[in-house]
Amino acid sequence: MTDRTVMHIDMNAFFASVEQQANPELRGKPIAVVGGHGRTVITTSSYEARAKGVKTGMAIWEGKRACPDLIFVVGHNKKYTHTSAKINGIFRDYTPEVEAFSIDESWLDITHSLSIFSSAENIAHLIKARIRRQFGITCSIGIAPNKLLAKLASDMQKPDGLTIIVPENVSRILERMPIKALCGIGKKMERHLNMMSIYTCGELGRCDEARLTRKFGIIGKRLKDMGQGIDNSPVIPFADEGGVKSVGHSSTLERDIDDPAEIQRFLLQLSEMVGSRARRYNVSGKTIHLYVRYADFFSSWGKQTTLKNYINLSDDIYRTALGILNTVELEQPVRLLGISLSNLKHQAEQLPLFEDERKKLFATQAMDTINDRFGKMSVTFGSLIPGKEKQGHM
């Protein structure tokens, strides 16, 4: 692989920052985002709260004990995914090769952008400034020759950091770095390696490959590479607008559902997510795939149908997906649902002749415009508005 420049960007205290941005009263104060719906664990907290010892994963009472004036906010996933999508849009201004790792982390391959923006550092500063100005969020950026090291670099300085690892320094930095700092080495793996008296990346890199392979099988080689800071995995753009092959979305339900009305509501919500994305890409598709995973987490099924015409309106997607669902007897409560639209073609922006279709299209476009401006699901189908959900502070 040729020399690459990869950037890893990590939004600092993302959920908390988004909440602070949405509600100015929360800015500069210790806040903790919690799951809501009876959940009592802190998902994330602002840097003000972290300074007082509040940690992710703490129960609410633990957070209160660490920081008595901690403010609790119920999290809103839609708000985060919307902001995340917009931020990834900013990244795409600098390179088409953007891989979203999670809602608040992305990799950018900027190898071919350097000639336009003079240096990686410059790109990092531009991105930082734009995200701060537009969303009031700070981020930590790591720049390195590959994804593994870029992620390691961004973790080295938080919040609002910028760390560059140049190839000459790789071995020096890794020599004393604890192995758990590497993305991909979790607690369990760390314990196993510690038992082999491997504690630092330097030790891991020098370890005999055969020894690692005997213990861990085929990933042994990968582990040794990681210890040496070698990572050839490419940055895979999720979907560049030119070559979308399918548009899909799946989501794990908050709890297992067997009520058909509730499943249908969820299906409509997924249809709207898939539909709005397809419309944004200006594509419509002929094939709808429905995926269902049951409560036991292991059994699942997927089924698809191909239509005679191309669709991208949420309602049409929903009706088709529901049609598939109705052909199947559900064996268990449902845990995960997914819908994807494929067999795509570029949608000509042709208005329909018949008035009822035109009304449906104009209504959808109005909905998309509002949702683009004010966040996903600002306007949605009536049946998707839950009666009991409450927002605000606890």
Binding site: N309, L351, L353
Partner: protein, 378 residues
């Protein structure tokens, strides 16, 4: 069966029925065959895929009456390669094989018993409507292209045909455009009829009408399930679409804010140029209409652009009344309709950029076309 006919007549007959032969994947093998049968001193050639059936008759010298079906593809391929000479067809009843002799070639093709071939209804003159062949051909040409080709809404794959007194109206729409044409019958029909004929069958009639002069008879079978076009030596029978065609009157705009009259040929030429550039941008063509005022004549500016290809702009002089407007259309749709308008001038009536446009040939009330615009490119 023993008959003789000319190779060129056989070729012509097989060509007439070819589009009604079922695809080779058909469940009934006999549908991939053509029927050859002696019929009143002529040879009848027939094919059907159960939706569309075509009978045609060619001159022949009949020695022994009889009938057989033979694989359409094999038989047509062979006949087309025979010399332009007399062809002798003779059926061996025991083996159900058809012997085909012509010049110094001798062939045998295995057939299927003619009894297995579905019956294609015969023409009954009672209650039929008669129309001039040239008029029907022209009318079909003006509407059939607007019918839908995808099967998602079957009613849009048909051509609505209304017969009332001595009027015939044909309409077709594909969800983005509507073509409407009317004409005169030779004589009034006894009762009004509205039928939805598959566009494929109507197109087939127009193809066969290419070299016909005699008036065409249109009749609906007593079961009302099929329509029959009776032409000189050819009958086309089609299964009607048993669905309601949308109310087309409601689609035709009742008013307009701008009426633009331009030369049909000039507009067509400008559209063809624009289409070269529009190919890469969903065929979007932009029209900017500047109305005629006291000083300047009106004009239409036609443009198209694609990021990769480049851009194009043409200006046409126009007699435009009303307000100025900018509107985008699918350039292919405009080319389709302008190609069938034979009046020297065409009028385009528009209201807003997201409202339907209406095209009419100037001085000819027999035709109109409604086309929906596209979103104006940003």
């Amino acid at each position: 069966m023993k008959v003789s006919c000319l190779q060129e007549n056989l070729v012509k007959g097989l060509n007439y029925v070819s589009r009604a032969v079922a695809a080779r994947t058909a469940t009934l093998p006999v549908l991939t065959h053509v029927l050859l049968a002696t019929d009143g001193g002529r040879l009848k050639i027939a094919a059907t895929n159960l939706e569309l059936g075509i009978n045609c008759w060619i001159g022949a010298k009949v020695e022994d009456e009889g009938a057989i079906t033979v694989p359409a593809r094999t038989f047509s391929e062979l006949v087309s390669l025979l010399p332009a000479d007399r062809v002798d067809l003779e059926l061996n009843i025991r083996t159900q094989a058809l012997r085909i002799q012509c010049g110094r070639t001798d062939n045998n093709i295995k057939g299927i018993d003619a009894q297995e071939f579905p019956i294609i209804p015969a023409f009954e003159p009672a209650g039929a409507a008669f129309i001039d062949a040239a008029v029907l051909k022209k009318m079909i040409g003006k509407v059939v292209f607007a019918a839908a080709t995808d099967e998602s809404r079957p009613m849009l794959t048909g051509v609505l045909t209304k017969l009332e007194e001595d009027n015939i109206i044909m309409a077709a729409a594909d969800g983005f455009r509507l073509s409407l044409c009317n004409g005169k019958l030779k004589e009034p029909v006894s009762e009004p009829r509205a039928i939805l004929i598959p566009a494929k069958a109507v197109a087939e009639v127009a193809r066969i009408l290419g070299d016909q002069e005699e008036p065409v008879a249109i009749s609906v079978t007593p079961s009302r399930g099929q329509v029959l076009f009776h032409m000189q030596n050819v009958d086309v029978v089609a299964q009607l679409i048993d669905q309601r065609f949308p109310d087309y009157q409601g689609i035709i705009p009742k008013r307009h804010d701008t009426r633009t009259i331009v030369s049909t040929a000039d507009l067509l030429k400008a559209c063809r140029q624009a289409s070269i550039f529009a190919r890469e941008s969903s065929d979007t063509m932009r029209l900017k209409i500047t109305p005629t005022d006291d000083v300047e004549p009106g004009k239409v500016t036609i443009s198209a652009r694609a990021d990769e290809t480049g851009d194009n702009e043409s200006q046409l002089e126009a007699n435009a009344t009303g307000i100025g407007v900018e509107i985008a259309f699918n350039v292919k749709y405009l080319i389709d309709v302008l190609s069938v308008i034979d009046a020297p001038q065409v009028a385009l009536e528009t209201t807003a950029a997201k409202s339907p446009g209406l095209l009419r040939p100037v001085g000819d009330d027999s035709f109109l076309h409604v086309v929906m615009p596209m979103h104006l490119p940003r």
